[in-house]
């Protein structure tokens, strides 16, 4: 653009910003609506659906908190347990694939890799029956275990690449010092893989936060429902107080936003890299 005149360049930059702004505005419109309605009573909403309005009814949030807080804590429990379990397993498995070529190494690797290609759609019914036979229906453990199993393949794949890049000298030195293999994993690999683990964790967090079908069929008790199913159940009640519903939606978005604020850089990087692998 060095050759073009300066005003033209500014104009073209401005038009780009305008375009992005328009797209962003339309993308954020639903959330704007959510926020505005969350402070209204039904009567206020009928009068003016578009803008923020005084008085802002904070009590909607109190009511909504009582409705959704249980669901949120359930989901957080499932997420955290499942992520910790997953890391415990995948770090070791990835270490195995990255550092050793045992007999049967290839076969085991393909055992995992094939799962990446297999569509999981036919699995639901037998999985449900399996959980039933294991007496896991209506427990958090059903969800935790299935989520953990589902996250194995991708994480092993990514962590393997990561661990392969750690210099061998570190492991050799540890071995000379008499470290066992487990100690190698937890004293060398774990401290180094902080950033990649948090990206993987965030991705898993998002997927569990949004999962719907398995919890729907597995969990029966209302007080054990995870967030997604709980929100739908809240929505399907007959008399709707939109303000409270929207306040509930807002509250259920907050935990993710908090995580986002603390890990913004990782978040963007992680999503980009996951997207590239997609």
């Amino acid at each position: 653009m060095k050759l073009g005149c300066k005003t033209k360049s500014i104009f073209s930059e401005l038009s780009k910003h305008l375009f992005i702004f328009l797209i962003l505005a339309m993308s954020f419109f639903p959330f704007y609506v959510m926020l505005t309605i969350s402070g209204k009573t039904n009567a206020q909403f009928a009068g003016n659906p578009w803008t923020f309005m005084m008085p802002f009814h904070w009590e909607n949030f109190t009511v909504a908190w009582n409705m959704v807080s249980g669901y949120i804590f359930n989901t957080i429990f499932i997420c955290v347990t499942s992520i910790i379990l997953t890391f415990g397993l995948t770090l070791n498995a990835a270490f195995f694939f990255a550092r050793y070529r045992m007999p049967g190494h290839k076969a085991l690797w393909y055992f995992f890799l094939i799962l990446m290609l297999m569509p999981g759609i036919a699995n639901l019914i037998p999985l449900f029956m399996l959980l039933k036979n294991l007496n896991l229906l209506n427990t958090f453990w059903a969800l935790i275990i299935v989520d953990t199993a589902g996250a194995q393949v991708v994480q092993i794949y990514i962590l393997r690449n990561f661990i392969e890049e750690i210099p061998q000298d570190l492991f050799d030195a540890a071995e000379v010092d008499g470290a066992t293999l487990l100690q190698q994993v937890y004293n060398i690999v774990l401290p180094m893989s902080g950033s990649i683990l948090s990206t993987l964790g965030i991705l898993q967090f998002i997927s569990i936060w949004n999962s719907y079908i398995l919890p729907l069929v597995v969990i029966r008790d209302d007080n054990m429902l995870p967030l997604a199913v709980g929100l739908v159940r809240m929505d399907s009640e007959y008399v709707k107080n939109w303000g409270q519903l929207m306040a509930g939606y807002t509250i259920s978005s907050i935990p993710m936003i908090i995580i986002f604020i603390f890990t913004m850089r990782l978040f963007v990087k992680g999503l980009s890299s996951a997207a590239v692998k997609g």
């Binding site: 375009f19 992005i20 498995a93 589902g150 079908i213 993710m256 999503l271």
Partner: protein
Amino acid sequence: MAKIIGYSKLKHYWKVYFFVIPSVLLVGVFSYYPALSAMYHAFFRWNGEDINTFVGDLNFRRLMGNYWLWIFTFALFALVLFYARKNDIKSNLFRLIAGIGSMIAGAGAIAINGWAYIDMTREAAGKHFGFALLVWGTLLLAFKFFISDENKNKWIYMLIPLDFIAAAFIHATGFSSVFAWMIVMLFNGFFMWILPYAENLPHIEGARTLQSFIALGICFWGLGKHAGGDPVLWSGFTIVFILVLFNIPKMIPSIATAVVVHRLKSEKFNYFYKVLFVIPMIIPGMVYLLLWKFFFEPNVGIFNKVLIYTKIMDVLIYLDHLLGWGGIFKAGTMPVWLGNEHLVLPAFILWGFPWVGVTGVLIYLAGLQGISTSVYEAADIDGANAFEKFFHIELPLILTQIRINMVLMIIGTLQTYGFILILFGESGGPNGKLMVPGLLMFAQAFSGGQAGYACAIGLILFFFILLLTELNNRYIRVDK
């Protein structure tokens, strides 16, 4: 590097296996076992509990109808693929003869089979023959486009008969002929003329790949309709097909956004917008879905209010009057978007406007990162305008990502049913309009008590997805 351990050293190192055994067990029990169990139970009448009797292929016969048609089509599919891929057969004429020969042979085989084994009248067998010819003609064409490397431009004109076939299929499945032609023309216009222009004709593959996928889709779908299987399943595939068709243009906003964000001069803004675009992703998907559901509520929802506010509603009412839609839009009443069987599909297509997918934007941005500013400066010196820059610089670079995204989108659309389940429950919307295959599977298993049948549906879906994945891996190259 990794330590290589032979069998002789295994005595000292066997403990290493314990690092992987827990994962293997977990995956084996919770991923492999269900998949294998689904395959096994697809051949049973099974309600998940006490009833479990072997019924052979009954489930599949109920779903797919006369599946000689299917078997032969797939055999021919492989054959056509084989002929088309043989690069050492240089003569196009030979390929054509071989292709047409195999087509006629296959169609004949089906007709004879139908006549001899399934108590078909001769007329019906004749019809089958004609239909099979049509199907295989389509397939052959599809694969011509898929594979042939020479005479790229010439083959485009061969698409014209393909369009007739496509329109005929769409029409045959119960849509008005106008709608059928609309869809076909839309896609022809866009993908055959705009995309090739976009690529400036060095690689028309993109367009050809797309056309082939569409042709393939139409082909199997017509087959499904024709063979006399479970009509609900195949009308479900119709819905999936329509959703896929409309999902393709929905990819455009993401691409445009990514390109514009990429073209911004300031790195800071670039990052800033990236962060902003991530935010919709962290809002739970369920919240987003329920918000949109609320938008479509007839009386309180925002969507109708926006339509009235922007006067689009008046246009729709006028159009209704003009084209005789039967009073879907009437002055003074609010259209019930999610409760009217004619409106539910349009509502679904409009869902999520402006369709900017975060992962999509980030994928394209990652693809665009490779372009250095000097390329743009050179283009500026040559006097290229913004669109020329897009078609000549940016599009070729993200074409791979677009293709991958497209295939992933098709696979994803084939599998989605959670969305519809949330909105309408197991009934699949007003009048079962949105009963997609996945939902049918779910409903059959959890309220129909036909888990075996549901497993068979799952397997059919599984098969289609596997086929798509395979085509994706084989023909859509990731060249970076």
